[in-house]
Symmetry: none
Subunit: 220 residues, 4 copies
């Protein structure tokens, strides 16, 4: 009823968010209960509703705030850097580091890509888009200065985000069988330079027409 933003006196709000991160990452959005989160946070069930409007609001707030935080870290570190390659390298590495510092957040951010219902999807999409725009603007700069090849900046931004996310996810979650990676150099290299060796000519061996998508089925 109150605006839920002017209470913030004690550290309760932060404790709830921290608890929510733990629980959501363990059990997913629907598998988690407000009661568990409240208990983990050391507060009463009703207290959660003093700081967040609903379970959904809690989840979305968590994603938004963490992504905003990540964006701020990245943007701050980009100051003073020159060249799109430099900036992108830096961005990827910071992103990697951030994900690797919170196994929980990787789970949470990936658990929400379309499977949580319209309400959640729409609100978190915005937060995600705002973050990915950092990548997008770097790539745009690179293509404009000629440092990068001609490529749709937004597509490339999502490709990079996807690459980082999936690798980080497997690196953290799937403990056994996956070689634990602590150095993101290979990932940076993959994004900047791809898989192919450099010494040849090697323009991408594509078959441009063969796989064009004609109709995208249902609800065309």
């Amino acid at each position: 009823m109150a605006d839920k933003g002017d209470i913030q006196e004690s550290g309760k709000r932060g404790m709830i968010l921290a608890a929510a991160l733990m629980i959501f990452s363990e059990k997913g959005f629907h598998g988690s209960t407000i009661e568990e989160i409240a208990e983990e946070a050391g507060v009463g069930k009703g207290t959660v509703y003093l700081y967040f409007e609903s379970k959904t609001d809690l989840f979305v707030s968590l994603v938004e705030e963490r992504l905003r935080e990540l964006k701020e870290i990245v943007v701050k570190h980009l100051e003073g850097l020159e060249g799109a390659g430099e900036k992108l390298t830096e961005s990827i590495k910071l992103h990697w580091k951030f994900f690797n510092q919170s196994k929980e957040f990787v789970r949470v951010i990936l658990s929400d890509l379309g499977g949580l219902g319209k309400e959640l999807d729409e609100r978190t999409r915005d937060a995600r888009v705002r973050f990915i725009e950092v990548f997008e603007s770097i790539i745009k700069e690179g293509t404009e200065t000629g440092e990068f090849k001609e490529i749709q900046p937004r597509m490339a931004a999502y490709a990079i985000e996807g690459a980082i996310s999936f690798v980080a996810f497997e690196n953290l979650i799937n403990s056994q069988g996956f070689p634990s990676i602590s150095d993101p150099s290979q990932l940076v290299d993959f994004c900047l330079n791809g898989l192919c060796r450099r010494e040849g000519k090697g323009e991408a061996r594509c078959f441009p027409d063969k796989y064009k998508i004609e109709s995208s089925e249902s609800e065309g």
Copy 2:
């Protein structure tokens, strides 16, 4: 006695899977109800349980069967191709086409990356891993023949899978604002050759040590 798999007389099982794909993609796993799925399939609620043990089993079966199908398509098309680059190109394009033919499946496959609880996660992870191994083995081949640079094959495989998935997801879902991509050439190029222009030397400009991850926080 009935193994839930030997009934198969009519096409009911397929109809239920098709309906499940629709509904799950719209509302996610927990947001969907068996009743909706049954109605969409044109069968009674109880009929779903004649073909699938539970809602979870239905979801997992859907993911497993579609991924197996995709894997078979890819593997079949790789026959006769020579060179890791050629194979990877082909694989990415087929993957792209498959995803673009079913907006629903992209949602479903991405809605399940850690947010649905242990039971679902474990069973679908296997299916996913089995599929990604196709990429992995191609990359391994490429690194061994020297066609590809030295890189951890599994990491690269997840990076590619992540890139395709995120781009396909945004391409299909986020209708407004995102330029619809019908040609995967740029994506193939990104994976094979990265973002940087080729004419220079340009070994990846990494800062190998600066971002090493020391401790991965929680529950470490």
Copy 3:
């Protein structure tokens, strides 16, 4: 729709009843399913409905027929016997033997004493009453000839039935801890000597007034 009594050609009906006895005794009325019973009987689910109108009808038929069978056995053996004591002794022993020959029937008959809902209760009560009337008439005869003391015959009949049932139930079901009884002599003795006139003193040491029940309504 047909009268369900004129089909009876093959032994299917008997097989279903035998299977029902097994399953009902293991899992109780509500815990058993028609499917299990049909499978145990080696017939199809629909076949059960050719011989019995419903699950309830199957259960009731089972109780009725077995009790009728028991009654016939008892009545037949009573022919030629003289004296109420002799007759009652014989009856109890036959009853005991019958129960001990079918652990399953004891369970079934005791699982239905008021806990199965009005429909079942009413129909099986009749069968039970008709059987207990055998005891009742013997006791009546005994009280009239003076062999037994003055007692309400129906009450005594139920007391005996209850004694036999509970002892048989514990004897059969509760395997561990309960001494297995193969000889009903002590039980016969318990029942008979409570009824027979006594030559000695020892009129029952009751406190006739002290425990009279004033109101039998609950929540009075």
Copy 4:
């Protein structure tokens, strides 16, 4: 954390138990629904689950607590009494009175004798056994002092419990046709004089061997 037993502030738990007694006695365990019970108790459906873990737990708790109550009443009244006969008389009368004061409880206690599935059976059996042990120990005392004849105490205890239960059940339930008994004297007499030593002749007129049970397996 909440042990489901430490809430107990208001009388809600008792109200639910009272409502459960009513409903279970009317419709049996499986015929009753939590919704009915909650409504009867004047609480919400979810509230039942605040005090009891499940429907089964509610039923079992009801049986356990009432039987414990009955046992306490009986044990307390036995203090100061001398002689097994006296004690048994008292016990039977109190038992009778207790049953007659709650028609509902008689139904409930008798509805659960093997027909409700393993889970229920096992938990309630204990409660019943603990109660019947009161009879058993009195009888044991009687046989040891010579007041009672030689008899297996546990068997006799079950015989008495069965006699009381069946008579009480018919007395209360089967309103028409059965003479309502308010005085348990005849029942006490029935039980006692089956146990007491007899000065006269009249050793039980049994036919010890004729009815021995050879095999107790069903369908022999």
